[in-house]
């Protein structure tokens, strides 16, 4: 007896874990989203950059945060040097600016889109190959620069069709300053870091028991968990009162200036302030943020200020940027609209049986130039077969060339009478009213 034989086994077509084929409507949606984001970035003055797919592992590895470092996909070049597939685009852009464009006037703005590769626990919208788009604003330290990245992130997400999202913004400087003021031994510093990072009340209570702190410091730590929410003004003034040193004060001042600038963009209502947001400590140096959409437990975009990265390649430059995860944006959009979408190819608006006529093909070219999608039958199908084909691929009209015009069938089923006749002269002027949204 044969047990566990696949019941409806197909010809074997293994692909490695964590990569996927994208095709049909889904592939077009992906490209469309990518284009939409890039167009938005370009309108704000960001220029395209196309970094290489792989580089020396040292270049990428030594600069990445520890999480990314462990996740790089490494392999060997023929000369024995170790290469790595890009795990993000930011490091490549930093290398480009740090080593080759350092003398060009600042600030410089770059945008990109493409797939990146990481060995990670497979999770929603994070396979081993996943698609990113992003922006980097280099050479500007002013709060206006941070605000621009936040504003552009929000605008791009709106443009992508996400309606109800929040930008959760933190400031690393505040926690850095607090650690400086507390002068903790390393083990207590770790305790505090972990408690705040995990938002653990018990962890913070443990820390308070172990650490002996003067009253003002004690209060600053105890109140830290409350420094998050949408009421920006109240949180910032409370944070101000808790400041123990100059770095904390300037972090709050910086945050206030950024919020002020964001208000000018009309974006205060998507802002959620969170001074306890400290993951990626050590990589980001100023603001850090995540964009969250309802129905998806993972951020659709994330970013922050990283003023130390470019200096590792050459002359130091301030920088702030954001990266969008395309898969997650698509997922958030779909969970909001239609959860069970049947995979389907993108249908042409028109299917035309041209009978090899030059006149017919010339008319088809006119329609295509107008933006109508026209597929020409290349299998010399006739009558009923054509109707079936048009129905199957879902094209809105079927047109059959008759020698001096078209028989037009609308919303074809397998058997349907001609809706009307369209002469060649009329056809040249015909504007097709497309009733389907392509995406």
């Amino acid at each position: 007896m044969v047990i566990n034989q696949p019941i409806d086994a197909q010809p074997s077509a293994l692909i490695p874990r964590g990569v996927a084929d994208y095709f049909w409507a889904e592939a077009e949606q992906r490209r469309h989203l990518e284009t939409l984001l890039l167009e938005t970035f370009r309108r704000w003055g960001y220029g395209d950059v196309l970094p290489p797919m792989f580089e020396y592992a040292d270049t990428l590895g030594s600069r990445a945060n520890s999480e990314l470092q462990a996740a790089l996909v490494r392999f060997q070049d023929r000369d024995g040097s170790t290469l790595a597939l890009r795990g993000d685009m930011t490091i490549a852009v930093a290398r480009l600016v740090g080593t080759r464009l350092h003398d060009w006037p600042m600030p410089q703005r770059f945008c990109y889109a493409g797939s990146v590769f990481r060995y990670t626990e497979l999770q929603a919208g994070r396979q081993r190959e996943f698609w990113q788009a992003g922006i980097e604003l280099i050479g500007a330290t002013a709060p206006a620069a941070d605000a621009e990245i936040l504003a552009l992130t929000a605008k791009a997400l709106q443009r992508a069709g996400l309606v109800d999202f929040r930008l959760v913004v933190g400031q690393m400087g505040y926690f850095h300053g607090l650690l400086q003021a507390l002068h903790l031994p390393p083990d207590q510093q770790r305790m505090l870091h972990q408690a705040v990072n995990l938002n653990s009340e018990a962890g913070l209570a443990d820390f308070m028991r172990v650490a002996t702190l003067p009253r003002a410091q004690r209060r600053a730590v105890e109140q830290l968990p409350y420094l998050s929410g949408q009421n920006v003004e109240a949180i910032l003034s409370q944070a101000d009162q808790l400041c123990l040193n100059e770095p904390m004060q300037s972090a709050v001042a910086n945050m206030r200036a950024i919020c002020h600038a964001l208000a000018s963009y009309g974006l205060l209502d998507v802002l959620y302030l969170d001074l306890t947001e400290i993951h990626n400590l050590g990589y980001y140096t100023g603001i850090t943020f995540e964009a969250l959409a309802p129905g998806l437990g993972f951020p659709v975009a994330a970013g922050g200020r990283y003023d130390h990265l470019i200096g590792s390649f050459g002359k130091p430059q301030a920088a702030v940027g954001a990266a969008f995860t395309l898969d997650r944006i698509l997922m958030a959009k779909h969970s909001a609209t239609h959860p069970h979408q049947t995979p389907h190819p993108v249908a042409p608006d028109l299917l035309v049986a041209a009978q090899d006529s030059a006149e017919c093909l010339a008319i088809v070219e006119i329609w295509r130039a107008q933006g109508t999608t026209v597929a020409v039958d290349v299998c010399a199908r006739q009558g009923r077969e054509l109707g079936e084909m048009a129905h199957q691929i879902g094209s809105q009209w079927l047109l059959i060339w008759t020698g001096n015009g078209f028989d037009v069938y609308e919303n074809v089923g397998p058997s349907q009478a001609s809706a009307y006749y369209l002469s060649a002269a009329e056809a040249k002027l015909k504007i097709w009213q497309l009733n389907t949204q392509r995406l």
């Binding site: 007896m1 047990i3 566990n4 696949p6 019941i7 409806d8 086994a9 197909q10 074997s12 077509a13 293994l14 692909i15 874990r17 964590g18 990569v19 996927a20 084929d21 994208y22 095709f23 049909w24 889904e26 592939a27 497979l122 999770q123 929603a124 396979q127 129905g295 969970s335 959860p339 069970h340 049947t342 995979p343």
Partner: protein
């Protein structure tokens, strides 16, 4: 101290209904089963002390047997394939017939699975699920759950689920339908590879007694 080869066989049973049905089958085959109330004891001797039984979490049974902590185990074929444990599986038992199936919302149109680029699938069986989709060239996003799998499509955690179907009542009650059968499952008797040889007589005795009642028409096979 008794040596390995003459200590009574240790049989691992999965907690729950499958254990009861297995013990009933053993009794029918004339094999000795634990007597009376076991109380809090974890290892239960049979009435005549020829066999000993332990109760384990169903997914742990193959592990106990693979490591030789138990000589024989009873578990579902689904559990065995998912765990990938290296044990002998000489005998299928007519207990717990069910299907491991791909299940989806009833309103999902039935198109070939390979048309979806990256379906999200929740399951207690990540390994079998991964294999099933890989064979079709599909990179499924597998979400491992430990229970209430039917919940996943209802709250948008996953589009599809892979789960056991016995009657299908839970599935239908939640607006779900069976899309593909991944494997047919039932109880299987597994034997540790070393015990199969070192305790050959005792193991064959158990196998023989069970075979005798399962296929009464066939003469009992002697090794």
């Amino acid at each position: 101290m008794t040596t390995l080869s003459d200590s009574p066989l240790l049989i691992a049973l999965p907690t729950g209904r499958m254990a009861e049905e297995t013990l009933a089958l053993f009794q029918q085959a004339g094999l000795s089963t634990p007597s009376g109330n076991a109380g809090r004891k974890l290892i239960l001797p049979s009435a005549d002390n020829t066999l000993r039984y332990i109760m384990a979490k169903p997914t742990d049974v193959p592990t106990f047997v693979e490591y030789g902590a138990a000589d024989i185990g009873i578990c579902g074929l689904d559990t065995l394939r998912e765990g990938g444990c290296n044990v002998y599986e000489p005998l299928l038992l007519p207990i717990g017939p069910c299907r491991l199936s791909l299940i989806g919302p009833a309103d999902r149109s039935d198109v070939p699975l390979r048309y979806a680029s990256q379906p999200r699938v929740a399951t207690k069986y990540p390994r079998l699920t991964m294999e099933f989709f890989r064979e079709r060239g599909v990179n499924a996003e597998i979400i491992k759950l430990n229970g209430s799998i039917e919940l996943a499509p209802l709250v948008g955690l996953a589009e599809l689920i892979v789960d056991l179907i016995e009657t299908g009542n839970t599935m239908r009650a939640n607006g779900l339908v069976e899309l593909r059968v991944i494997m047919h499952s039932q109880a299987v008797l597994v034997v540790n590879r070393a015990a199969h040889r070192l305790k050959a007589i005792a193991v064959q005795h158990v196998l023989g007694a069970l075979r005798a009642i399962l296929t009464p028409a066939m003469p009992e096979q002697e090794t």
